[in-house]
């Protein structure tokens, strides 16, 4: 049965098919081809390494109070000086990386899972399901993310777990709307009709056909979201409802340090610079990933 047809059917010409290459290698090649993406990657890699190896990298324990050395200027002993309780600023920044990362990934993971699934269900089933879910998301969107996070954090109290929860909820609407829009657009394509004509069921259709097509957008929004969460966390900590002292958190450090901005600028500026670099890193990585992962941009980038 197999080869009889091939003998009589003229095989396709060679020139019709582009050469195959490993998908993974191609993604890596495209991603690292963009300078900014590489910069972003380096920054984030640096961040992750710092967070993991904090105990080995930091010169001092972050919470060690030394009342003899309060508000010291940057010196050989304390590269960024000390804060008002004599704690080494550099060490607190290094340990703060941990806090930021945990909260960033935790909150983003939560909002991605919740938001994407909601958006997908709404777009796929349409009708009343769509209306109910999207009106709920609209209501959520009407309140600024920071405000939602603030309210939740205030109600639940501070602390890392609650901050993750609060920020996760705050970001749900972004992901839900994005996924919904992507899924609605993907649904129009011929290959969805083809898949249904081949007898594919709902669940498979959603996760095998629609999600992979929405994936590039998802990656970009999630990566940029990571940066936004870090900023938001900084805001919460600054306002006192974020990570509870004495745990080091960049936002909290700014909050504590801005009073001394004229005498000891390093106290407030160094966490600020750290936040800036990390958010920049995530944004650049997000761009690079989108370009590398989107099959439709292949050959253009």
């Amino acid at each position: 049965m197999q080869n009889n047809v091939a003998n009589t059917v003229e095989p396709a010409a060679w020139s019709e098919i582009a050469p195959a290459q490993s998908e993974f290698r191609r993604v890596i090649r495209v991603f690292f081809g963009r300078k900014l993406a590489v910069v972003g990657f380096v920054l984030i890699a640096f961040l992750i390494i710092t967070a993991i190896f904090a105990p080995w990298i930091a010169p001092y324990p972050p919470n060690d109070i030394d009342m003899n050395q309060t508000l010291a200027k940057p010196s050989a002993e304390h590269w960024l000086g000390t804060d008002n309780l004599g704690r080494d600023v550099l060490s607190r920044i290094i340990y703060g990386a941990r806090t930021s990362l945990i909260i960033a990934f935790g909150a983003t993971a939560m909002s991605v899972i919740l938001g994407e699934v909601l958006g997908l269900i709404a777009a796929y089933f349409g009708g009343i399901v769509f209306q109910i879910i999207m009106r709920f998301i609209d209501a959520l969107m009407a309140v600024p993310m920071l405000l939602i996070a603030l309210i939740m954090a205030s109600l639940l109290g501070g602390g890392v777990k609650n901050v993750i929860l609060a920020l996760g909820v705050g970001m749900v609407s972004v992901h839900a709307r994005m996924m919904c829009a992507q899924a609605l657009s993907v649904k129009q394509n011929d290959y969805i009709l083809s898949a249904r004509a081949m007898g594919m069921g709902d669940l498979r259709m959603m996760f095998q056909e629609i999600v992979p097509n929405a994936f590039p957008a998802l990656v970009v929004v999630a990566t940029v979201g990571l940066g936004a969460v870090i900023l938001a966390e900084a805001g919460l900590s600054f306002l006192g409802v974020g990570v509870m002292p004495p745990y080091p958190a960049w936002g909290g450090m700014i909050s504590d340090g801005y009073k001394y901005i004229l005498s000891n600028p390093a106290l407030a500026l160094s966490p600020g610079v750290a936040i800036m670099l990390v958010v920049f890193g995530f944004n650049m990585m997000g761009d690079g990933l989108r370009d590398a992962l989107d099959p439709r941009l292949r050959g253009i980038v």
Binding site: V9, A20, R196, M198, P295, R298
Partner: protein, 330 residues
């Protein structure tokens, strides 16, 4: 020869803002085993919608299958729920459909291999190794060279003709009894057209699959189809054996279609190509009488007064829906 699919009196209407569109208004056709039939008509005549209705792929608001039956394997397909188990197990496995645009019919983010094995795993419960081997067999059989290494390629690495071949391979993967090809060659060049049609012919012969070709191109069905149905404005206006339709067309529409197509062997000046005057009708608020009337050069008073004629037989398997005996008028 056993009848595989028997569609009777299919009516599919669409409720739109501007009125009720009777896209398919009383279509009946059948297909036997190992047969190729052609469903011919211009854009908008309802041929694609008829096929989609049989497969229950019509979006239910605004569309609705108002009446009719589609008996396949002893069961009426139109009685099944469109999202139900039964319909899902028939689609792809027993009746497969391929569409016009090869560029968009394949999911751009999944590899060719994945899309082929998907079907096998879905309907035949194959494990991934067996499915991969079968996929390679299938791709080879539709003429894709070095199929094994092509499994990891993406659709955008293939040309239109190749993608259509892949679509055919996917459609055939579960050995369906009927393959519906909706304008399969419209989007490709003539050389590829010829290759694809030859491929489909081989498939009918080798795999015992029946083929329904939906097209607006008479040339495509002339060579390959055994029987032809001509559709106009949602109804079948003529049907019969291929030779009868081409050598002895009876309906003014069919006659008009053949008059405006050049034939091989004619030279310039032999015959004038006469297009059919007028435009296809708006399917909203159709008049009760014959829909072809405004464009017909054979019409009589009877055509204006009587409702759209029923199909009546004029000889061996040749049916026409017309009050005028066009043979006499010639």
């Amino acid at each position: 020869m056993a009848v595989l699919l028997n569609v009777e009196n299919l009516r599919t209407y669409f409720q739109t803002d501007r009125g009720l569109v009777k896209a398919v208004d009383g279509v009946s056709f059948y297909i036997n085993e190992k047969e190729i039939i052609g469903l011919v008509g211009e854009s908008g005549c309802g041929k694609s919608v008829s096929m989609l209705s049989v497969m229950q792929l019509i979006s239910v608001p605004p569309g609705q299958i108002v009446s009719g039956s589609a008996i396949f394997d002893g069961q009426d397909l139109l009685q099944y729920k469109s999202k139900g188990e039964e319909m899902s197990s028939i689609r792809g496995a027993k009746i497969a459909m391929i569409f016009q645009e090869p560029m968009t019919s394949l999911n751009p983010v999944l590899t060719i291999g994945r899309q082929t094995t998907e079907m096998l795993e879905l309907h035949l419960n194959m494990d991934s190794q067996t499915a991969k081997e079968r996929a390679v067999e299938l791709l080879n059989s539709v003429g894709i060279p070095e199929a094994e290494s092509r499994l990891d390629s993406y659709p955008h690495q293939f040309s239109g003709g190749m993608r259509q071949r892949v679509m055919i391979a996917i459609a055939l993967s579960c050995n369906p009894k009927i393959l519906i090809a909706d304008e399969p060659t419209t989007a490709v060049d003539v050389t590829t057209q010829a290759q694809l049609l030859e491929l489909m012919q081989e498939i009918v012969n080798q795999y015992n699959t029946s083929l329904i070709i939906v097209t607006h191109n008479l040339g495509v069905v002339a060579r390959y189809a055994q029987r032809i149905y001509v559709m106009y404005a949602g109804r079948i206006v003529e049907s019969g054996l291929c030779e009868d339709i081409f050598l002895n067309p009876l309906h003014p529409y069919t006659i008009g279609l053949l008059k405006c197509v050049p034939q091989l062997g004619e030279t310039k000046g032999d015959r004038e190509l006469v297009p059919i005057s007028g435009l296809p009708p708006n399917l909203i608020n159709m008049p009760n009488n014959c829909a072809f009337l405004p464009r017909c050069s054979y019409h009589t008073e009877k055509c204006r007064l009587e409702p759209w004629p029923e199909l009546h037989s004029t000889g061996e398997q040749h049916y026409v829906s017309c009050y005028v005996d066009t043979q006499e008028t010639l």
